[in-house]
Amino acid sequence: MLELEFAMEVRVRLGERIHIPTATHTRGTVIVQEGTFEGPRIKGIVVPQTGGDHPVIGSDGTARFDATYLLQADDGTFIFKRNYGVRSGPPDVLKRLLAKEEVDPSEYYMRLSPSFEVPPGPHDWLSKHVFIGTGRRGPQGSIFRYWMVK
């Protein structure tokens, strides 16, 4: 079995969503306005407007996330974060999420596998481990909770 160690919670406020319906899928795009993150070993801010999420949304409503933006730890270190993941659930629940209604996170599945690029030093454990986590979408933004896979 794999052991997990809680790494951090990230809270982001998101801008307006834009959906681009292509021939094969819908490409979503949303900019991260600001945020914070905190865990036992590290905390800091999400650097405002340094990136966002560009999910591929399939015909069944399932979203595959592909997000990139910057974090800055309390000691000033910049961290490049890339977030892959998936959100799926019953069609009516996904519809309510897209309409920005408050939906209980147990009604849908939102799981993530972020990776981080950091300079060598006290935070480089972030670039040497695999992480998995959960996400919940609120009307104003998202809350992610990440665990390090030991």
Partner: protein
């Protein structure tokens, strides 16, 4: 806090490598090396998926970073027992203490608990196939690299 995130064993993949020599390109202008190893075939067993690795359907193209971390980028095709083709893309990383790393380079057997080898794969499969759930699910796995093959254990993130 671990109880918030539950894992459930899903399947194991035994991957056989191509006997041709591994490639290692570099040093790259952007740093590190790009590797290549082809897959000869393999088998999948477990409660959630059974099948084979389609022979010679891909390989791993890792980035070997200057800090000693190997970052995987593997792609290949699985054939489920019912005949369905499943595309697999595997990301993750491996690193080891220097003496373990040296023994792995020399293809000597080492204890899989003496180094770090974890992955998170992504799958593509036809809509309405019995395996469609795999496209809506996050997985995490651990690897055990041996001479000529690697054994992976995969868990579904519930």
């Amino acid at each position: 806090m671990e109880e918030e995130l539950q894992l459930r064993y899903a399947f194991s993949i035994h991957v056989e490598f191509d006997p041709r020599p591994r490639l290692k390109l570099g040093p790259l202008p952007s740093g590190g090396y790009r590797g290549f190893i082809g897959l000869a075939g393999g088998t999948i067993t477990g409660p959630r998926l059974q099948g084979i690795v389609l022979p010679h359907s891909g390989g791993d193209y890792p980035l070997i970073r200057n800090d000693g971390v190997v970052v995987f980028d593997a792609r290949y095709i699985i054939v489920a027992a019912d005949g369905t083709h499943i595309y697999m893309m595997n990301r993750g990383c491996r690193h080891a203490p220097p003496d373990i790393s040296r023994r792995m380079e020399a293809l000597e057997p080492v204890d899989p608990n003496s180094y770090y080898f974890r992955v998170t794969p992504i799958f593509d499969v036809a809509k309405d196939s019995p395996h469609e759930w795999m496209t809506r699910t996050l997985f995490v796995g651990k690897g055990d690299r041996r001479n000529g093959y690697t054994d992976f254990e995969y868990y579904e993130v519930l």
